[in-house]
């Protein structure tokens, strides 16, 4: 029942981190949300729409959380500019909703005093009001409203309480109060102190300390932040996530994979034109499939990230790891992107947004692709099962498993070493101070987790999909054209551009023990690492590597490649940036081609050196 005679109203949500701001946003707008980027910056823009009881259309943006309008990061700059109404391409908000954790008012009152200077009408939403009541916290709402000069609404976002009231208040404010004069300027230290004492005075006047303050968080922290036990628990949690990513995701990923193979078969039967069929089946369908196949892992990674964030544990994990990560010059929060990168570097690089400081974030992005992502597994599995004997060493360790473990370790350790070198040689600035609120623990809300998870999925498909798909088709074109001449004897790819490039770079790769088949496989393998396996299957003409062809390929590799060559290939794959999608995401996240280029060059250089050392070392050991 939208009334078109009413002009739409724009609301902006502002608040400290951990106040349930996003939960309130979800309660307001439900699933009517759009996630995109602000123009020209890599800050996420979340907007939703709702219809007020009077029929007015209301647009709501969820601005990045902040303690102050004084921006310290690109995210906070967006909040500041949006509030001040000077963000390019954005409609200035008619009303600002300042979201506060009702149990922790002091800091947000200072923010509210800053908002008051901006002159735009605002409402203070005291969220998590049920918890405040349970604690016996007494707040004089009328007095508080008078002091800050804004109406107050109490809300419980997770139970959708107070939402309608908030909408009505905001709408009334939009209609009755024009924006006043903006007298805000960046506060100096002295002005912040002054605002604090003002907030303190308001607190004393209007808020009575809780009769039953929360002691649970302290008690939980006393266990989870124990120096030794805390790290053990964190390791156990990381192990569970790691296991889940690999063992839960695989069946679903296999199902998706099989589905796309089936779809390819069906389309292949219907479409008779050779080139069109090849484009559809090998280019388009295979390309879409290669994006979707990572979805199960990405869902699981982000499911755990959301649980850890919503419960309040993420900040504790960063606390526990700060010193360890600091050794490599990384921020404690870098563990999130690095853990995610073990599933896929793309969500890993995307999640590096949790790190504010530019150099800390870039360092994390640069090393994220060195973590062993799941696309490397088919390559590793092929070489290991073909060339590493399946036997037990030192009484209980499986040699194949040991090599796999070693490859994981090599990725992680080299990533940390690279980070160390970047921070000690190139960016010798001391790292960003580790200053972080440890939020009160709370049980994650299922609805919020699911909604946010859904958003991550859409973002992944949108961002990664739009980059990966054209690249997949480019790689398909390189591997398909030109056609082999009449009466050609070799595999078709040998005559294509990919084949030409492979043959062209082969002399370069000979010193590291690569044969021409491997050199060619690297070109389509740029699409995604595991594509190299399928390409080897094509070149050796074994048929479908996911079916019976896989075993044949393993036998061919076992009989035709030396151990030295196999190990060199593994070393190459630990380092080489064999993934254009990753480079594309880095381009998106860093707003330019500088950092993808740096990543491309340094990773290829490392890959070449590592493969060279491995190959020569293996030859010296007589494994040629």
């Amino acid at each position: 029942m939208t009334d078109s005679s009413l002009a739409p109203t724009h609301l902006a949500l502002v608040g400290n981190p951990n106040t349930g701001k996003t939960a309130l946003f979800n309660a307001l707008t439900g699933s009517r949300q759009k996630v995109a980027n602000y123009a020209g910056v890599t800050v996420e823009r979340k907007e939703g729409v709702l219809t007020s009881p009077s029929g007015r259309v209301i647009h709501v943006v969820d601005l990045p959380g902040t303690y102050s309008l004084r921006a310290r990061s690109p995210d906070e700059a967006v909040t500041r500019d949006a509030v001040l109404g000077r963000l390019a391409g954005e409609t200035p908000p008619d009303v600002i909703v300042c979201v506060a954790d009702a149990t922790n008012l002091r800091l947000v009152l200072r923010l509210a005093l800053e908002l008051k200077q901006v002159g735009r009408p605002f409402v203070l939403a005291l969220n998590m009001f049920d918890i405040a009541q349970r604690q016996g916290l007494r707040i004089d709402l009328e007095g508080l409203s008078r002091e800050i000069g804004a109406p107050i609404v109490t809300t419980v976002a997770t139970r959708k309480r107070g939402i309608e009231d908030l909408v009505v208040q905001a709408e009334a404010l939009a209609g009755s109060m024009p924006a006043g004069e903006n007298v805000w300027h960046e506060p100096s230290a002295e002005e912040i102190r002054h605002a604090h004492s003002e907030a303190q005075r308001i607190m004393r006047a209007c808020v009575r300390a809780p009769e039953r303050p929360d002691t649970l968080t302290s008690r939980i922290d006393h266990v989870l932040l124990q120096p030794v036990a805390g790290l053990v628990i964190l390791s156990a949690i990381m192990f569970v996530i790691f296991q889940a990513v690999f063992s839960w995701a695989t069946p679903v990923a296999d199902l998706i994979d099989a589905g796309f193979v089936l779809l390819g078969d069906l389309v292949g039967r219907v479409v008779t034109h050779d080139l069109l069929r090849s484009l559809l089946v090998d280019g388009l369908i295979a390309g879409v499939g290669s994006v979707l196949v990572f979805l199960p892992q990405i869902i699981i990674v982000f499911f755990f990230i959301l649980l850890l964030e919503d419960s309040g544990y993420m900040a504790r994990a960063a606390f526990l790891l700060d010193r360890l990560m600091g050794v490599a010059g990384l921020h404690g929060r870098a563990f999130i992107p690095l853990l995610s990168s073990h599933a896929c570097a793309i969500p890993g690089i995307m999640s590096a947004r949790v790190i504010d400081q530019k150099h800390d974030r870039l360092t994390t992005i640069l090393i994220a692709p060195l973590m062993t992502c799941s696309a490397r597994l088919p390559v590793y599995t092929l070489i290991i099962s073909a060339l590493i004997p399946n036997r037990t060493v030192w009484g209980f360790i499986n040699l194949q498993g040991l090599v796999m473990f070693g490859l994981y370790g090599a990725g992680l350790v080299s990533g940390l070493v690279v980070a160390f070198i970047i921070r000690r040689v190139f960016w010798r600035t001391a790292s960003e101070p580790f200053l972080m609120e440890l939020p009160t623990y709370k049980a994650p809300e299922v609805r919020n987790v699911l909604l946010n998870l859904w958003q991550r999925v859409v973002i992944f498909l949108n961002r990664a999909g739009r980059i990966i798909l054209p690249l997949m088709i480019l790689v398909w074109a390189l591997s398909t054209f030109p056609y082999p001449p009449e009466g050609a004897t070799g595999p078709a790819i040998d005559y294509s551009f990919a084949g030409m490039i492979g043959h062209f770079i082969q002399p370069l790769l000979a010193p590291i023990g690569f044969n021409w088949q491997m050199s060619i496989a690297l070109i389509p393998g740029m699409a995604a690492r595991e594509v190299a396996v399928a390409t080897l299957g094509t070149i050796y003409a074994v048929g479908d590597v996911d079916g019976a062809g896989g075993a044949v390929l393993t036998q061919i590799v076992a009989s035709q490649w030396s151990l030295a060559t196999g190990l060199s290939f593994l070393a190459w794959y630990v380092f080489a940036p064999q993934c254009v999608a990753t480079l594309g995401v880095v381009k998106r996240e860093t707003n330019g081609w500088t950092w993808p280029t740096v990543m491309f060059v340094y990773m290829f250089a490392l890959a070449y050196l590592a493969a060279l050392a491995t190959y020569r070392g293996a030859l010296a050991l007589g494994w040629g």
Partner: protein, 102 residues
């Protein structure tokens, strides 16, 4: 920031010390926030500390400390909990009402 820098344990309750050398259990009130140039210019660090609630008069208690070099520390700051490295905690002077020396 060594052990020797700690004031004598027997000093009266009103004694003061830097948060950077406080141990778990230490409790008191912040008496001065004055930053120094480091990763950030002093002025910027001081404002960030203030914005997060490290302000003169706030009640503070050291709750937990990390495994390596007892760093970082988790403190209770009035009604909230905050993690901070000892390096930055050196900008904060507190007056103890209980020091709980180790």
């Amino acid at each position: 920031m060594s052990e020797a820098a700690l004031p004598d344990a027997a000093v009266a309750p009103a004694d003061t010390g830097l948060l950077s050398i406080a141990r778990v259990g230490a409790r008191g009130v912040i008496t001065r926030v004055s930053a120094f140039d480091g990763a950030l210019p002093a002025e910027e660090l001081e404002r960030r500390l203030l914005e997060l609630g490290f302000v003169e008069g706030a009640r503070i208690e050291v709750l937990e400390e990390g495994l390596f070099g007892r760093d970082p520390i988790a403190v209770k700051l009035d009604d909230m909990r905050v993690a901070i490295r000892r390096r930055e905690a050196a900008a904060i002077l507190m007056s103890y009402d209980s020091r709980a020396d180790a």
